[in-house]
Symmetry: C2
Subunit: 191 residues, 2 copies
DNA sequence: ACTATAGCGGAGGGTTGCCTCCGCTATCAA
DNA sequence: TTGATAGCGGAGGCAACCCTCCGCTATAGT
């Protein structure tokens, strides 16, 4: 349903500028913001981000008048990638499809914190993005449930919050993170 | 092991003052800090904390010269309570003892964030506190393993990081948090 | 090449938080 | 009661960050 004909909700109100140099700056800002939010959390300094992107602070504010706009742009990008990942995973057998997607979810280094810090925000745009993500992931989970692989007394919301908690936790390394995720997911498996 | 003869590591270098009014202030600061760190994370404003405690900012700094000192004092208090909780739980059957303690761990509202944000800090004092907590909790886990209730291919460190991730995650309510924790712990159960 | 203008960027004013310093006050031992 | 002093607290200097504003520069259409 909708506007661009089939991609639904993910519509950022901030638009990519027209002029070539401006577009370069826009993209550099987005990349810098992604890094900064990932490594320092949502409170990262905007001036640092601008400096990191090699542009003036004024340019940052022109493109993203409020911190939230920048956060949204980054966040929505992540969500979109997750939606695509869900489509990719759909070919696998039910349980693998689900776990593959969730590992991917956890693996996204960038904006990890932002993602879960925002999970119960009330702002409309966040709601929309979250719904998009739910829409992408829930089918994988339901399929696993129907195949008798996943417990039926667990909701997708439970699952996603569990996983996003793990996303944010501190681990020694990537391997431990994956190991722990696998363990936790074992708890979701039908016995 | 040492000095006070049997409580090991948990020794805060900050000391409770002598004079009655000073002690009152000290305790008020600690309580305010506990709240503030819990609700706003480790970055909470020290001036807010002092105001909340009803003392001047100068008093805060006299007792806790650096933010870290205050954080330590609060954090160590939490850890100590967790150690005691572990002792209390020791009477229960192996698996219940473990899960009861872990639910308790998650349930501690105060300094939730501080706890996990600090889990892989390098500072000595943090290491010491973490070790104390591990020393208190690991026996519960080992007992559950020996009783054949908990998987043997999971380490206590894995378990604790998993749980501390859930501690920090955003949940709709306490009930969901407990439910999700139970699910995740099912993954740790021996099959 | 020329020009209208989209876009740049950083100076600067405001706010908030950090931490020090020191004159004042409450406590408590004598 | 009183005096020595532990302890108080907030004014104030500093630093970081936020965001706006506007004179300058690069772009792109002609």
């Amino acid at each position: 349903m909708a506007s661009e004909q089939n991609r639904p909700v993910l519509q950022v109100d901030v638009r990519r500028p027209q002029r070539a140099d401006a577009r370069r700056n826009f993209d550099a800002l987005l990349a810098a913001a992604r890094d900064a939010f990932a490594s320092k959390g949502v409170g990262a300094s905007l001036e640092d981000i601008a400096r990191q992107a090699g542009v003036g602070i004024g340019t940052l504010y022109r493109n993203f008048p409020a911190r939230q706009d920048l956060l949204n742009a980054v966040y929505f990008g992540e969500i979109e990638e997750l939606c695509i990942a869900a489509e990719d995973a759909a070919d696998l057998p039910p349980w693998e499809a689900l776990t593959t997607w969730l590992h991917r979810f956890v693996g996204y280094a960038a904006t990890k914190r932002a993602i879960w810090e925002s999970l119960n925000r009330e702002a409309d745009s966040f709601k929309a993005a979250r719904e998009a993500m739910y829409a992408a992931g829930a089918p994988l989970f339901e399929r696993a449930q129907e195949a008798g692989e996943a417990r039926k007394d667990v909701s997708f919301d439970d699952l996603l919050r569990m996983v996003s908690g793990l996303t944010a936790a501190g681990f020694v390394d990537q391997a431990q993170r994956d190991r722990v995720l696998t363990i936790a997911l074992d708890g979701v498996r039908a016995r």
